[in-house]
Subunit: 226 residues, 2 copies
Amino acid sequence: MAIKFDAALGTSVVVFAFDGENLISLVGAKSEEPYRGAPMLPTNWVKANESVEDVAKRMMTRVLGMDQIYLEQLNAFARVYRNPMGRVVNIAYYALLNWDEVKNIKLQEGYRWVRNGEEPEMIFDHNEIYEMATERLKRRVKRRPIGFVLLPQRFTFNNIHALYQACLGKELDKRNFRKKFMRSELLIDTEETIFEAPGNKKPSRLYEFNQQKYEKLTLKGYDFKF
Amino acid sequence: MAIKFDAALGTSVVVFAFDGENLISLVGAKSEEPYRGAPMLPTNWVKANESVEDVAKRMMTRVLGMDQIYLEQLNAFARVYRNPMGRVVNIAYYALLNWDEVKNIKLQEGYRWVRNGEEPEMIFDHNEIYEMATERLKRRVKRRPIGFVLLPQRFTFNNIHALYQACLGKELDKRNFRKKFMRSELLIDTEETIFEAPGNKKPSRLYEFNQQKYEKLTLKGYDFKF
DNA sequence: TCAAAAGTGTTATCGCTACACCCATGG
DNA sequence: CCATGGGTGTAGCGATAACACTTTTGA
């Protein structure tokens, strides 16, 4: 049987950031007919000689002007009729990035940030892709320190506490959370403090992520159970 | 930008079974040039109007004469040069099935069963696909009762103990394993016994999987920690 | 009665959960 | 001196891990 090269390839990226309170993600809009203007995930065609991940990365650079983004393959979305124009396989990724680095970027026409849970109805199966990304994030955050990617290099305990609550979508006891995290030794106490919000009465301690410790831990795998 | 439909689509399936002692999987051989005869995972082209999962299922039916197989999407393998003939995206699945139902099937030319860890070097990135499947199985077996799919409807405690050891690749204390499993109430004691191996001195009790209990459990999610 | 595999319990330790008050500071 | 948010400790409970002997039965 001869090979038929008759499918098209695309990639979408679900971009997550954390603004200190909510997970935020990036929604674009379709720039061509059909459905011009309709909300969609940032998406790009992949040519036959292009690496999917490279295309996804370049798209991030184009849209956000950022290199060096945490990207992970989510899944292939390949239903026959997901795109009415023909057989399009979408290999979707999710990306995590630091809100401080992107919040002031002027987005291109059609792009905007939305809070998790407030994403619009999107074209094709993009809501399904989005959903799978939030589920993946929920699982990953328990087993790998990807949370740190969403935070600035130095952060307060309240930052990371709020982040985990946002990712997992539930409240976590402050003391227990702190104990568990401290036991893991994944945080380095910088012994410096800041006032987290202007007008706060007491300064907060700043922490950093302990990369070395993490690398040792991963060898035998680890679990947070929240 | 016009869509270019210039990629080909394929699907491979990593088939697992359990023979009472080892995980077993199915390896095929390439039937056409180039690389005719080279070991590969069971693989099929997917046409532009076909569902990937349907193709994977039909391939299982063709190769093993079985319908109703547990299938789960693994990942998309899409590196540019993974297939030297052109851009081929492989959406891979893994399948779990019952050894008793397949061990006597006469396989087609080129197909054979291999023990986990003794799989041959395969074409393209098929070893990578295989590897990812075993990792996935390892994770899944802790969180979902997929083990039961690999066992006959009624099985002894030793069967399931050996299965978990094979999936996880390590020894598990017999008593602790039994306690944990019993606590979960996922097993029904049929109160019948068999001699597991001919010549055994003491008969073993037979158990069944408790589907209802599992469905209740899944609602809130569950974890085995082995 | 012995050989072989099946099956069974206890203890110490650890991690989880739930829960409420003190501390430092700026106004 | 008080209002605000940051930061801390304990007790009970359930799960885990480590560990070795008894039971059943056919030969």
